[in-house]
Assembly symmetry: C2
Amino acid sequence: MLHKAMRYSLFAGGKRLRPAVALAACRAVGGRDDDALTAACALEMLHTYSLIHDDLPSIDDDSLRRGRPTCHVRFGEATAILAGDALQTHAFLVLARHTPRTEAIAPLVLELAEAAGTSGMVGGEIADIEAEGEPPDVAVVEGIHRRKTAALFRAAAGMGGVAGGAGDETLQALRVYGEWLGLAFQIVDDVLDVTSDPATLGKSAGKDHAARKMTFPSAAGIDESQRRARACADAARRALMGLDGSGLLAALAEFTVTRLR
Amino acid sequence: MLHKAMRYSLFAGGKRLRPAVALAACRAVGGRDDDALTAACALEMLHTYSLIHDDLPSIDDDSLRRGRPTCHVRFGEATAILAGDALQTHAFLVLARHTPRTEAIAPLVLELAEAAGTSGMVGGEIADIEAEGEPPDVAVVEGIHRRKTAALFRAAAGMGGVAGGAGDETLQALRVYGEWLGLAFQIVDDVLDVTSDPATLGKSAGKDHAARKMTFPSAAGIDESQRRARACADAARRALMGLDGSGLLAALAEFTVTRLR
């Protein structure tokens, strides 16, 4: 039942954007796709665990995700909590057990754990919960988005670079790219929650507003949010300057904002 | 609030038995305490995360732990879920960031993740939930205990050995020791749930029976459970045969069953 619940959420579709960023970053630094596969899988497992837990009744209480009933609706709350827990563990297990270049394991684990923890994703989650009902503020919401979403995109680009054997300077450029990309992605997500419908989104729409979530549109309006998302995607592309082979990364930045159209 | 909840549960006392096993195993193979400190901290963080999540209303619904209100009673369910999540992440972060011998990082992460995941702790948790109300059976309950509890003790001994630079044969002996120790510990825990009171336990007593949990006493009776616990502790000590400097490990095995008196 546990594995069934893990697979149910992990293989529910989704854009696989974080794995795509990791693979593209690895290619950009001249690595082989095989080198970055563990990073790609670990990122998607980590991300899926966070979705399962965020959807729980005591957190966002969501019943629809990737076009299907959420994990706890389908399998019950206890199994959903444990499936999320096990997916997090499995992310680190896959890195430690299957990464081809063993010298990359420790930095990959470090990069993922930093992004997932209290100064990254989970820290952003709690800030998001604590900000519910507060007066919307652009600086606050950007701070939340940088941790809740952009930290893992930053790690995706960084891990792809590490897996491909990039040097420090290139790694830093990739991380900056990833953080701007993640911020653009989350602002677009906020906008789509207002302007789109559940069938298109594959998850409940209008939930942010109903939950009095602090979002970019609530703090700055739709037009300014769209402008800001494009500016972030441009900043992501600019961070790649001078990096040969980064065409796919640039295309992913462009893809992120084309969802607005 | 997140860090407060993490610290509340992590520093609530407890026997620190898993860290003690890791440090003792490191000493037994001639390592320095400093080498095993990250393993010790990671094990306690991992264990504490599992307690926080197990105590949640949708899992064991427990209100008392280590003599204090459980994390969700004190901080609310959302914060407790995220505090548990972050403690798991932090366990891997500490290993990757602070382990003195960097060549030990990858095997330490692997050992911890294997013990924590679906073939270890979380797998045992779900088996435990699924067995509730089923006819008690010694083989089934021992299988659950080996995964739910003994896997992490096995990892504690193995990680201490890895941190101290042990060779493969010694590592294997330490892991066998750890698994028997963990099984002894869990059987004693089951017995104390029946024979003890909450003030002594620091957690609710009689909960296993109320929840129709499959325990060693329910499957084999109190007397046979006590005999089996002692036999497991003896097996743990026997696994150490030939390992100089394992006096502390042997003493920990003895300590585990003295709680029965």
